[in-house]
Point group: C2
Chain length 215, copies 2
């Protein structure tokens, strides 16, 4: 019985790692499309998103089956319920990536004369997502706490870009629509960072049993 349970827990972990990979791919695709203005690439995100949603469903099923058939306790229970909540944050990461891709697809970016630089913030949130999922796979609290520290970095990068955008608008830029879109993209990156923070908090919960999700 325990052997089967452990095997199912390993399966859960593998599926989480796989979903994490999909989320990282979605961010990478979006970032590439954004930094290179690759509209064609941006439009392929929807296939990726349906895979992510599908993966969320199948992980939910694994978790619910484990909870119902195996009645786990203590740390196993925490791992499963953490996974059940983490997939929601992982799916939201995919959704934020889709929102960015959608803005790119419209194509205003192509015409922009002075492109906004999202390199730093996109690197930062990509790292946060990668680290938070790594921390889950390795049950690594230290790494999870690294992600929490990163949150301020992303918030500062978000504010820098926001300030730049507002400055341009005040100076009477004739690219109001483009700058408004860039404001949204800035926010979506910040949100991806928030979801990575939630994942890291669920990792800590799965290890310590303590949780404090504040966004």
């Amino acid at each position: 019985m325990r052997a089967y349970f452990d095997q199912q827990l390993d399966l859960l972990k593998d599926e989480m790692v796989y979903m994490g990979g999909l989320c990282e791919d979605a961010i990478q695709l979006t970032v590439d499309a954004l930094l290179n203005g690759d509209i064609k690439r941006a439009k392929t995100i929807n296939n990726m998103m349906s895979q992510i949603s599908q993966q969320e469903r199948s992980i939910e099923n694994i978790c619910l089956k484990l909870l119902m058939q195996q009645q786990p306790v203590a740390r196993d229970l925490r791992t499963i319920s953490a996974a059940l909540k983490m997939v929601t944050d992982m799916e939201r990461i995919g959704i934020q990536a889709c929102e960015i891709a959608e803005i790119i697809s419209v194509g205003n970016i192509e015409q922009a004369t002075d492109k906004v630089d999202f390199q730093k913030i996109s690197d930062a949130v990509s790292n946060m997502v990668h680290m938070s999922l790594q921390a889950f796979g390795d049950k690594d609290m230290e790494l999870a706490n690294e992600v929490l520290k990163y949150d301020d970095v992303v918030d500062n990068l978000f504010c820098d870009i926001r300030g730049d955008l507002i400055g341009r608008l005040k100076s009477g830029s004739n690219e109001a629509e483009y700058l408004m879109d860039m404001m949204m993209i800035d926010k979506y990156f910040e949100r991806i960072g928030d979801h990575a923070v939630n994942i890291a908090k669920w990792v800590n919960f799965s290890i310590t049993g303590e949780i404090e999700i504040v966004e």
Copy 2:
């Protein structure tokens, strides 16, 4: 055993209704503060948000206990797993309300000469949230489907406000920061509508067993 299970299911329903009430209060508080520029009121949202998060945790606990101790099947299982997912959307509604309140708290709105009108979109999303939670309480698929139809209404209202904001920016408004904030508030209202749609979809899932969450 069944009697205890039914009693726990009733408790779950009551707790969901209570959390729904908190979410509606949070939106109402935010809308009042926004429409009347009541900064003092906006600052009280954080207490409400911590209640919402607390309520999410306690509902998660009820759901997990029911899943583990009672091993429900079919419709009961769907109701419980739907509740487990719905609370995440409900908490996110609270978070969006907080984001709006935070912008109000900064106080740029007070100085705005020509305020943006959020009455229609805030009424629309408030209705969506109310209907979706009502639909869960009454297992009312018809009402849940009403919420799904409402989604286009909110998307159109979102686009109208966005167009207005971009128009103002293009005409060289000297209130770029205010208008950027209003763009974010517009988006937050749209997201609240999306979460109400998710809740409605989970209601349908709890009744039919079919789910399709696309945001």
